[in-house]
């Protein structure tokens, strides 16, 4: 798969070469335009640019990760997506899927970096260990070194998944490898963060197609996430939302309420704090998504979601106070201690200031006796 071709072709040409019909192509363009959140009137523009744009070279780096992002990507809804992206976006380098290996693979990457300097898109899957370069090496070179090298000539960087955009599980406390997301290392390139563990395949495809059809980054939010997919909380598009507003919650996974399909908020659903498109695009070709399958959202696309556990409770756990302590437990204990201290203070005050109190008291009594009534 994915070896370098010398003659550049347009996306349309390569799609047709793959054996798809024009009809397939048009369907694909319509699908993807819908995912990208553009208006139907823009489908023509998507078609047009796929027909006329030359394939953009892509280098896809894998660092500390589990490859779930790649897995998700190649399973995106419409086969054409992965076909054109993986085979035909001219994916010049990806350890997992390319046919070449060893020196050949490295050579292909370097050729792309030189030939298309300033033009290629760098996709990064995985975080970079900053504690010790030895923690993650490819072809004898450290992840950090490889990232800095391939980022240099990149037009833009896509940080795939929670690892590359937030650090994910490797960065969970105590983060022994100092796993670091891409935007904390590379400061001088446009970076799109596509968090999620993994991100939804259609989201990934939509972002890439957006970049090649419009030749610019999709609109990003304050955290560098594409607004088309991350502007809403899972909660905002959750079909169980009416139960939430009605205050009808499952108390445990096997109670009557859970069977009724009530909201999973109290069994730890992170939907209200999690920005992702799960509720609308869903997973596995739109079959379902966790909440629809009876499990709360674990907030996989949010920073530090591993450290904000346990997944099945809504309590706020506090690092440094022991695993079982939540903010509320600590708060209650502290309030109790405070109340005890105040009681002690009140008693001590009456003892220590007894003369003052006694004098005032007797003055008050004297005055009372002199009242003329």
């Amino acid at each position: 798969m994915a070896t370098k071709t010398d003659t550049r072709e347009t996306y349309y040409e390569s799609i047709i070469k793959q054996g798809y019909s024009r009809r397939d192509f048009m369907k694909f363009a319509t699908y993807i335009a819908a995912y990208m959140g553009v208006e139907t009137s823009m489908i023509g523009q998507v078609v047009k640019s796929l027909e006329t744009t030359y394939r953009v070279p892509v280098i896809w780096e894998h660092f500390q990760e589990c490859t779930c992002c790649s897995e998700s990507f190649i399973r995106s809804d419409h086969p054409i997506v992965s076909d054109i992206i993986l085979n035909k976006i001219s994916l010049d380098y990806t350890l997992t899927l390319m046919a070449a290996s060893g020196h050949q693979a490295e050579a292909a990457k370097h050729e792309t970096m030189e030939k298309y300097h300033g033009d290629y898109i760098l996709c990064v899957e995985g975080s970079v260990p900053m504690a010790n370069d030895g923690y993650c090496c490819i072809a004898g070179r450290s992840a950090r070194e490889l990232l800095l090298e391939s980022a240099k000539g990149a037009k833009a960087i896509i940080a795939w998944g929670s690892c590359a955009s937030n650090g994910c599980v490797q960065a969970a406390y105590p983060n022994p490898t100092e796993a670091t997301p891409i935007h904390k290392i590379i400061k001088d390139k446009p970076i799109i963060r596509v968090p999620g563990c993994p991100p939804i395949g259609e989201v990934m495809a939509g972002i890439i197609v957006h970049m090649i059809t419009f030749d610019r980054l999709p609109e990003l939010d304050g955290l560098g996430r594409p607004k088309a997919f991350y502007a809403k909380r899972v909660h905002d598009s959750c079909y169980r939302r009416p139960y939430y507003d009605a205050g009808l919650f499952a108390e445990s996974f096997d109670d009557e309420n859970a069977k009724e399909g009530y909201c999973l908020y109290k069994v730890g659903c992170r939907g209200p704090m999690t920005y992702n498109a799960c509720g609308t695009i869903r997973w596995n070709n739109g079959v379902s998504f966790p909440i629809q399958s009876g499990h709360g959202c674990i907030g996989c696309s949010e920073e530090d979601f591993w450290d904000n556990g346990p997944f099945y409770e809504r309590l706020t756990s506090l690092g440094g106070f022991g695993i079982e302590s939540s903010a509320d437990t600590i708060g209650k204990v502290a309030a109790g201690v405070l109340a005890g201290g105040i009681a002690a203070h009140a008693i001590a005050a009456n003892v220590s200031k007894r003369k003052e109190l006694k004098d005032r008291n007797s003055r008050g009594r004297d005055n009372e006796k002199q009242l003329d009534d």
Binding site: N166, D221, G222, L223, K232, R233, D236, P242, Y243, Y244, D245, A246, G247, L248, F249, E251, E256, N257, E260, Y265, K266, R270, P272, M273, T274, Y275, G299, E302, E303, D304, F305, N308, R314, L315, T316, L318, A327, D328, I330, G331, A334, A335, L338, A339, I342, H345, A346, A348, A349, S352, K353, K355, E356, L357, D359, R360, S362, R363, D366, N367
Partner: protein
Amino acid sequence: MESRNFKRVYVWELPVRIFHWINALCILVLAITGFIIADPVAILSNAEASESYWFGTVRFIHFATAYVFFFNMLLRIYWAFAGNKYASWKAFLPFSKKRWNNILHVLRIDILLQNEKVHDIRNISVGHNMVASLSYIALFVLALVQVFTGFALYADNSDWFLPDLFAWVVPLLGGDFAVRKVHHIATWFFIFFTIVHVYLVFYHDWLEGRGEVSSMFGGYKFIREDRLKKTPGNTKEKSEQPSESKPEDNPKEDEIIV
């Protein structure tokens, strides 16, 4: 035993009192609804979702109260420039030797419960004492934390520009998880503040008998007559603030005040 004479002194102006009680009420409502939102009570019913909206209502009360809390706070900030010297922003800053001394005094006498050998009646503050002032600064900071994190969490639910002004807090802290955590923990500090605040008000009222509690209703406190400038037989110029008085002016008394 000779009795003391007190004068009624207007300390807390009406806007200050209104602020205080609206603020107190808002904190109460926000804390209660906040804890309900964090951990809603269990309701077992076979009602359809369309038949009830209680959780939505609780959230609505929380958000509406948050706006009241916020605008009430703005009015108090305005009054810190327009109000009397006890309401002024200047009353809260501990930047003078006298005020530092007042902090030490309050810590020694009221917190560590020592007794003075020689009493200086001007050590008793008319408005806030300086330790209380510092606690109100802390409360103000806490309120800002809640306003910033609260509106940041709320911004996505709203089209209005005001909550959107705080939307940048979310990227700053990394995401809603962290913002919610801060918002939740800060609530506990309001509770701690309230416990201590209420206790100390009772403490001062009980030990000093100057109407500390009622002053937040009527606005008046009772001040020893000999602290007033134009009292007959007491012509020396004296100011209400201990910080502004000179030590030489101190009338030395061996008796306990009031």
